[in-house]
Each structure stands twice: as C-alpha cells, then as structure tokens.
Subunit: 487 residues, 2 copies
C-alpha cells in the first residue's frame, strides 16, 4: 500500500472539514441510519474481508468472523444510543426571576460534535479496533467526520474496509468526507497537527501513544488525545479459590494469556498465587499444551521475543515454560517469581510484554498480596479469583485495584471486552492518556462532544433538541429532573 | 503573605493524598453535608471576609457580598446534585448469556474520584473563582481533596477564607487534608508535577494557563488540566435590533464591558453594529458616564494600560472615548473600526484586553457580519441582539457562533454566569484548555471523576451505588433504561 500523498491528505482533510457541519446537523435518528448502513455493509462484505484479514494478520477465521460481528454490532449499539438520545445530555433550566443573588435566565445545554476526528488504528484487532472499530463508530455517532490512519499491519484490509464503509455511508446519504482512510505515519502526524482535526484517538503502545499525545498537547490549539496504551492486567487468586478450583483457574489463565497469541490489550501479564499452591505442574502442562501460533507481523514477533528474553534474563524471574519461536510461530512462555522479589525491584518486571508470555508470582499472605497490588500503576483491568468466604478480607485489595484499573473482573478473565452500555475500557495512565474516558461502550461517544449552552434564545434559533415541545422525544433534565416531557 | 515552604507543601500534599480514600468512601449525602457546612461557614464569615476582600481587590461591597452568596449557593447546589445522584453515572448491564457474538457478563459502571486536585485561583472573583469557588466546590463534590494555590492578588483573604473552610470541614467530620490553601507560584508548580496530584484547574490568562497546561501535559503521568483562559465575547447586533432599541443596547453594552472595571472573563470585547447605526454619540456619552474605578491590583492595571495603548495605536482602530488612568483609577475606553478593516488583519485586534476597554465594529450587511464571526477563535460566549423578524436570516450566524463559543446569549449580556444545572462556562481553545468541560454549573463535577466497571462482582465487594437493591436511591441506567428501581 502506497502512503497517502500530501495532496491526497489535503483533499481528505478538506473533505472532512466540509462534512463536519452537515454531519452535525443530522438528527440523531438520521445518523443512526448511517451507522446501521455501515454495519449492514460490513456484515455483507465479511466473506470478502475476512480472508484478507487472515492473510494480513495470521489470526484464525472464527476470531475474525467474530470481530466483524462485534464491529457491526457496535455500530448498531451506537445507533440505538443515538435514538435513545441521552448522549446529548440535554439540560434545561427555566428562567427564574426570583433566583438569588441574581435572577436566572433560561438556559438550555446540549452536546455538539467537536469536529473532524483522527483515529489511529491498532494492529491487534483488524476490525474491532481498526477501520470499522470503536473509535470510528463512536466518533461517527457523535457527529464527527473521521480520518482513519490505517495500521501498516493490515493495509489491504484497511483499504478495502474503508471502501466498504465509504460506499455504504455515501449510499445512505452521508455528507462526502464523512469517512476516509489514510496510510503512512507521515500522513498521521501531519493530520494530527492540522487545525481542522479537533480530537484524536489511538490504540497501541505506550511509546507510540505518548509520542502522539505530546504532539497533540503541544499544538498551537491543543486537542484531546484519547490513547489506549499499555496494560499488565494482573490477576490475584486467593488461597480459598486455589483450594476450590485451582486447576480450572490455571487452565483459564493459560487460555486467557495465550488467546490470540497473547496479542490483547487485556492479556493477563501476571498471575498471583499463594505460596504452596501446588499448581506448578498444571501450569507447565497447560502452557505446553498450547500450540505455537503466528503473530500479527514480524515486527511484533521480534518485539515480543526481545521483551521475553529481557524478562527471562532478570535475576528475579525463573523460567517455568520456555516457548521458542520456530518458523515464525510462537509458543507460550511462563516465568515465575515471588512477591518479595517483585517488590524488591518492581520496575523491570512490571513492563508489558505483548505476546504469549506471562509471569506467575507467589505471595505469602493477604498483606503481601495487597502490597504487590499497590506496586502497579494504571491498568485497563485487574482480576480477582476468590470464594464467597473471602469477601470481607478482599475489600482492601479491591479498593487498591479500583484505584489502579478501569475494570475489575471477578472470577473471570480480562480478555474479552463486552460492547455494552456499562463497559469501561480505560484506566489510569499509562493504560490510557485520559482516564476519565473509555474507548469501548456507549459512553465512548462522550469523547467527541462538547457542551453548548443557549441563553434566553428563541425557539426559531434553537436546535430541535432544545425546543419546548421536545420533538425528538429526548430524555432531558428540566429544572433538575430528567423526563421526556414538553416544556 | 509568606510563600508556602517546601516542607509545608510536602505536608499539605501528604495530607491530601491521605484524605483521598476516606473522602471518596463517604456516601454522596455525607459529602453533601460537608459542602453545606462549608457554605454555612462561608455565609457566617461574610462580615469578616468582605472587608478583607474590599481592601485587597478594590471591588465594591455589594459585588463582593453577592459573590459570597453565589459561592455558598454553589456549594449548596453541588450538595443537591450529590443527593440526586445522577453525577455517579451508574450504568448496569445485566448478564446476557445469549448475547452474540459472545455472552455478556454482568457489568456495573460508576464514577469514582480522580484523587487530589490542584486549583489555581483567579484574581478577578476573590470568592467565586477563588478559594471557595466553583473549582473547589466541584472537586470536593466529586470526592477529591483540594490543594488551592491562592492568587497573590488577595493573599490575606485567601488565607482567612481557607481557615474558615478548613475549620468548617473539620467540624463536619471531613478527613484531615480535605482542603488546604498554599501560597506562591513555586508551591503551585511544585504541586503541579507531584505524582499525588491527579488533576488541576485554573482560571487566568492565556499565557499563564498555557504554561501550566504544558507542565501538566508533559509530566511522566500527564494529568487533565482544566484551564479557563482568555475570551473576547463578541456581541452582534442586527439592524432590526438597532432600530427597535439601539440606545438601550448601547447602554447595556457599556454597562457590561465596564462591569467590575471590565475584569470579567465574559466581558464583551467587541460590539458589532450595522453601518449607519447612528449611535456614536450615545456610545460616547454612555461610556463617558461611567466613572473611573480601581482595578484589582497594579499589575493588572498596568497590563490593561499597555494593551489598551497597543490597541489604540493600531492603524485599524480609532478612539471614540479615551479613558485615562488617574490616581490608579481607570475610566472606560472605547475604540472603533470597520469589519472590513478588521477582516483585513484580524489578529492584532482579536486579543483580549482585560479591563474596561472595548471595540465597536461597523459591518455592511449580514454576509460581512458572518465573515467577521468566522474570524474568531474559541470563546466562552457569543451574544446576539436581534428581533423576532431576524430569526430566519440569523440561523447561519448562530451556527458560526455555536462552533466558536460555549454559551450563546440572546438579547442579553455575557457578564453574569448563572450557577445552575444547565450552565456551560467553557468553550474552544483558547477560551479553555478542555472544551468538553465546564468550570461552572453542576456538570463541572465531571472533570474530577473517572469510570470504573465491575464485572460479575458479588454484592459484598461492590460499592453501595451498584447494589441490587439500590440503597442510595440513585437514578441508574439498567439494560439501557434509566430508573431508580432495584434489580
């Protein structure tokens, strides 16, 4: 795939800027129809797109088929949210001439789109965090045109998926320029500093994300940069859980850290087990039982191998299972240490290793477990395996994890991020660059919207969302109380 | 006032960090009680505090008394919002084993406080945007301890108001370290890079705010920086409005741009009138009728004089009323130009002049008015004066302004920011550093909260807000529908 040229990028940015006003002016239900058209087109193209994705990503067919369904389902969930209308956050305070210390005017607030959004696609989900993924879906839902910088790991898939979406949006009546795919890091960084781009989203590494964050933050007009970067996703297992179902936990852990050849943002990077867990043999057998598999591309495979060797070479860590790379296929690696050794020098160990490598950490008791939890920085997820009898003693650990992670998983595994109203896929830095936002779930749309308040403005000049008679049937907070009533 | 020493600051930061967990753990109604205690104490201390404020700010007594009432009312409004509970944004998706492409777990999302917040107080509102102001109130409401960096313009007032608040919070049972006032820019910038500070808020100049934003953004762990910086607040008057009530508009404009000696973030910096408006004499008389008044301090008076002289020296601008500074009292200045001249070289003219100076711009017709509106960058407000007969023709202008301002005022004046659910006090850069947020109004609390999602977590480990039986009576979105019902 050739990189997007300067002239091509200029045309894309101009078109996105031109699309901003007409796209924002559509009613929520009209934008919902665009999202559904995109979803239908994506599903219809699955048979063509999935083979391209297999060829470019080395991921298996069922996983990629599932990703298409996840992505189209996500577009449809945002369509539902648009029709429901809460996302506009309409708040109306009627005039109060008796308010003290000064009379209050009629105030009507709603959210409006920020303008064109630049999305940097990820490598590891060629659909769900790439061209038709959550950042695209949520920005389009907000009413912001999207310029998507393709990931070089799946260029042809990106090009072709982009065509499918552009054609579907055009056929459904979207303004020209609503969506475009560009290729090459030059195009990405050039777009990132273009004044017509009003926000950016990114999924990838800490190093890459931080570099782009710094560019976005130091523009003459700084813009929000929503980056989802690195996460260790630690898993904490109590003594009672080991006693009740230790082997099932081991198997679940191995399944989770090797899922998709360990190429998940939510891959569990550390498993905390109590001393004397007696599960070492099961860990070894379970990990050895997972076959070698391809990784997304050579660069990622080399990066994994380098980080795996660095970890294996640390004096704190011992190797339980050594997974070599043969013929570009990678087998799982399992390392081990103790919480004491980890706490003596946590930084070298607490680094994300993107791929099928994880670390088992043995702890001596609840206090040491909590101390280990406190050693973590920001994470997307933290997981606890426990029994009902643990509940009281677990609360302090859960509080520690709540301060460090965006999602707390109980007796499950962090891989697998449900697309739902309540999902939060985010967390304190460095797991994201903006911990108050999510990149998955309905609330992801909030990233691309800003409030506007109309004061004493006549109906004829107000957006429909703020009219007295509530023609869009929106839930609105009127004088502090949410309802769908007319004024 | 001595600057806070290194050791004193260390103690303040340690106390704030210690207070974070217990403050966050309070029920919303318990935090509401703290806010009400602070409000009551502030009101009770008004007779002591207002004279200090008069001495340090040169602002008149009725204005400052009103500011105290505004500030205590603001604390009470946040208390109401805590009790109402929507601010927690609770979303619950019940488990769905039949969800496609994968089963959905039970997901429960709510917002939790970010942790200690650093607030840089403003000079121009010694109460409402200072120690007991909106940033303090919204951060405390969120459950974040506050370290307030006092503005050097009113040090004794800041010290004493801080004591009043600290004593009230302590007596009401707040954790030690919930609130503290520090003095000196060294303390401010040292705190800004301290890893225990998780967000910062600021009201002040573009230059100062941008410098602090850059510090916050380039920390090893970048933090959100909510700065409210500069705004021109243009006012656009139609021909019909001039015909109907030209003289009243002039008088309102002069009242607004000279209110508080022009020291409002929302001071109207430009008034657009149609050619041949015939109001020049009225403008001159009205502006001359406003007496000279003191400014907040010598630095601000000198800054205003310098910017006023720079503007008066521009070839595009002519002087209608020249207000000199005599005996440290400043009289209003009114300059004028045409939209044609403005559009030929907008940058030198479109700079905020903090103080009682404004510019009248004559435009030739609706197209030129819209072109002039398009020359503006981000603003807190934009104002239109029009008649009902203008409505259709005005829509394009209002759309242009909507893209450039956070609040649109119709047939009113931008000075005066109501504290209410629907208020938005924000706008595109450079009016703020984060246009998706507000520093006034109930939604300001959102700046200091981040989501956490609990997956398949038993009741005993969940916060009360997420329990099945909804003991806090919160509005919650359950499977997409908002209600106060139990699960």
């Amino acid at each position: 795939m050739n990189d997007t040229t300067h002239d091509e990028l200029a045309a894309v940015l101009a078109a996105a800027a031109s699309a901003a006003a007409p796209l924002a002016a559509l009613r929520p239900a009209e934008r919902a129809a665009l999202l559904r058209a995109a979803a239908d087109a994506l599903d219809a193209a699955a048979d063509e797109l999935v083979p391209i994705a297999i060829a470019e990503s080395a991921l298996p067919e069922p996983r990629l088929t599932g990703e298409v369904a996840r992505s189209s389902g996500q577009l449809r969930l945002f369509a539902e949210a648009l029709e429901e209308g809460s996302y506009l956050e309409v708040i109306i305070d009627t005039a109060d001439p008796d308010a003290a210390p000064v009379p209050r005017p009629d105030l009507r607030r709603m959210l409006v789109p920020l303008g064109p959004v630049l999305v940097f696609a990820a490598s590891n989900f060629p659909f769900a965090f790439s061209v038709p993924g959550g950042d695209t879906a949520s920005a389009l839902a907000a009413g912001s045109p999207v310029v998507l910088k393709a990931h070089p790991g799946h260029p042809e898939l990106s090009r072709r998926t982009g065509e499918v979406l552009v054609d579907a949006l055009r056929a459904a009546g979207a303004p020209e320029g609503t969506f475009a795919v560009v290729h090459g890091m030059d195009a990405g960084t050039t777009a990132l500093v273009d004044p017509r781009i009003k926000a950016a989203a990114f999924t990838g590494s800490v190093r890459g994300g931080r570099a782009l964050l710094d560019i976005a933050s130091t523009r003459p007009e700084p813009i929000p940069f929503y980056g989802e970067l690195g996460s260790l996703n630690p898993v904490f297992v109590t003594q009672a859980a080991v006693a009740a179902r230790g082997e099932a936990i081991v198997d679940g852990f191995v399944g989770s850290f090797t899922l998709g050849t360990g190429q998940f943002c939510t891959k569990p990077g550390l498993l905390f087990l109590p001393e004397g867990h007696g599960l070492e043999q099961r860990l070894v057998e379970s990990a050895r039982g997972v076959g070698a598999a391809g990784m997304l591309n050579d660069r990622i495979r080399a990066g994994h191998a380098e980080e795996r060797e660095r970890l294996a070479g640390l004096s704190q860590l011992r190797t339980l299972v050594r997974g070599d790379d043969a013929e570009a296929r990678v087998a799982p690696t399992l390392l081990t240490t103790t919480a004491k050794e980890l706490l003596a020098d946590p930084d070298p160990v607490l680094q994300e290793c993107f791929g099928p490598t994880s670390i088992v950490v043995e702890y001596s008791g609840p206090d040491e477990l909590r101390a280990a939890a406190e050693a973590f920085g920001g994470n997307l997820t933290a997981t606890v395996h426990a029994e009902d009898t643990d509940a009281g003693a677990l609360s302090p650990l859960v509080d520690v994890l709540r301060d460090r992670a965006g999602r707390l998983v109980y007796n499950g595994w962090p891989t697998g991020v449900a697309v739902a109203w309540a999902m939060h896929h985010g967390g304190p830095y460095p797991s994201t660059t903006a911990s108050i936002h999510t990149s998955v779930g309905v609330t992801a749309v909030r990233r691309f919207l800003r409030p506007v308040c109309y004061q004493n403005t006549p109906q004829a000049l107000l957006p429909e969302a703020l009219w007295d008679d509530n023609p869009l049937g929106l839930p609105r907070r009127i004088d502090g109380v949410i309802s769908q009533r007319a004024l």
